[in-house]
Amino acid sequence: MIAVLELFLRLAAWLLLAPLLPGIINRVKSWVAGRRGPPVLQLYYDLARLWRKGIVLSTAVSPAHIAGPALAWVALVGAALLLPVGQAGATLSFRGDALLFVYLLAFARFCLALAALDTGSAFAGMGVAREVSYAVLAEAAIITALLTLCVQSNSVSLVTMLAPSAGAGAALLAAGLFGVLLAENCRVPFDDPNTHLELTMIHEAMVLDHSGPPLAAILHGAALKLLLFAVLLTEAVLPLGKLSLLPALAALAGSVLLVAVIAGLVESLMARLAFRRVPLLLTTAFVLCVFALLVAWKGGMP
């Protein structure tokens, strides 16, 4: 009974808190620009509005167009539940769940890409081509980051891997993972979540043809993914597993907020990159993670 209650609590926390992060980032941006900006809760209103709307479907699409966003959302929720929270551990934990985590993220991307390609639109095709090309590099970085944690904790279970601090390589890992966070969540300098220019879009071009509840699922899934990466980054760097529940939760909340603020500042103060330079920056994130791996692997040796 308690286990079921706990599951619901965790699920509710993930689902309800996620749309807050884009709101915070937008608030930081509007603060820097001297604007009043949209309400912090704007995404909640948007989701409620989209949920009540009907779905407009192209005559060319197959059921995959609807199924894609739904499956992607479920995969992201599943990935979120694999992440531990302090000493309370994860809802689901087993040996090798780190691999499942990576695959769930990849599966979510696959579903969205499939749903986008299903429309046959030139914009969606361009968006998917860009998304998956950059994902190749972003995934290399995230796998290396997880490998670092594996080596350090001698485990392939997220609960054990994320409990201690990343140690000497923590700063490298944090920088690498922050780069991946920006790329995976289509933030500046990789993508511009606010653009209306179809030709420059990555993620946005993939979801142009969605409407109503499926679009709500995509937007909520994107917010969830942002929270998930912020939590992963925090837990990889800070030894939350060594703290008792309340201090761990407080540290987690504070750090996630900090990540959102930094993302907002990056977005406020720099232009986005030309596409041909995106691989350079992603490779930098990957190399940072590789060095973190080297530090974890060889760092303890005399």
Binding site: A122, A129, T195, H196, L197, L199, L269, L273, R277
Partner: protein, 493 residues
Amino acid sequence: MNPPREFYLCGNGASVPWAEVPAWPAEEFVAATAAELARGGRLCAWFGVPEADGTCLVAVIAFDAENTLAVGRSLPAVNSYPSLTPGHPQAHLFEREVWEQHGLVPDGHPWLKPVRRQGGGHPAAGEFFRVAGGEIHEVSVGPVHAGIIEPGHFRFQCNGEEVLHLEIALGYQHRGVETALAGGPHRATLSQLETVAGDTTIGHATAYATIMESLAGEEAPLRAQWLRALALELERLANHTGDLGALAGDVAFLPTAAACGKIRGDFLNLTALICGNRFGRGLVRPGGCRHDLETARAGALLGRLRAALADVNQAAEWLWAANSVRARFELTGTVASVQAAELGLVGVAARASGLVRDVRFDHPAGWHRFAPVPVAVWPDGDVLARARVRSLEIQRSGKFLEDQLGTPPDGEIFTAARPPAGDTLAVALVEGWRGEICHVAITDAAGRFRRYKITDPSFHNWPGLALAMRGQAISDFPICNKSFNLSYCGFDL
């Protein structure tokens, strides 16, 4: 009748009896025009005038270094004439337009298709240049865009992210302005000209007023010329500021984007301070201006102008200081100066490719004869150069306004115009904020417009945008487009 030796030479804002405009048989006229272009002339306008027994071609050619305009025409031609375009690409769109309007075929034109309509259908219904190959894909954008902008259709031939060719199909906003103007001037004429391109109200209204004054054989009072020059620079300031902000917005550089949107409003409000309308509607009229700027309001305007100028210079500094912005702007959408000259680009786009072209300097009329403005030139031809030229012009327009507000001429702002002369051709050039605006009017015996030809700077510059995209990443199209910021309705007429 022996063919004339040379074109009629005149200055900006001149008029000449139609009978005295040198006329050649069409073939010789094309050859004579080609010779003028070959010796450094620039085609400002090339259009048809329907006559009883065919269509007269009229050419207005500018010799910038000599501050001279050359006007000539052909004898009425039917069916076809040898094309000017193969030797002089700047005639490309003009000849297509003549064919569309009058059915006169330019023989040997390399890409003859209508400029605004496609066989009665919508503009994108026509044939497009296609690149063949299994790796090539075609991307079509518009006419409905994701932002609140004007409609236009863009057809890209791409190899992956690289654009091999871009063709632009416009005409969705064709309102029949030139047809509506024929038979004028009538009560709606001024309003129609103020809305040829709504963001260039002062530019087009000034050109029209100059035409009317030239046909009447008199000038507007000096104080009215002074007011027009002030309003023209305020229009330039507002639009250049908006463009810098939009460029920053397209690369997601927040500080300048957010600031410029606000400062543009400040400049628009200065125009409103003069005449009560942010776009300057109702300020300029043939014979003078409709609103004066008293000393007290001129003082208030100067104070607010200085504050807005300081703000916009600061916002531009942020833009130049950001490495991430420079990385996006540099070497993007480059138009070499040779290409710019061959295409006959004008305005900001030409000056950013190193061409020294500015009507205020080369063909001064009105107040600019007494208060010259230095030409702002940047050599590189890329997006950065076009942004830099805008920023330079903001500084120089600001300086011009500060100087001129301090030394107002006294006198009336309006004199009732005499009726326009009959059977006369008048030509007026104005350097609007986008570039050279060319108006040519030909009156009938009663002094009504037989033909009123408008050439918006966008008509010269759209091919420049298409050329700038060659070999570029398709994702850079928005910033290239924004760096030109051309008018759709000014082209579509």
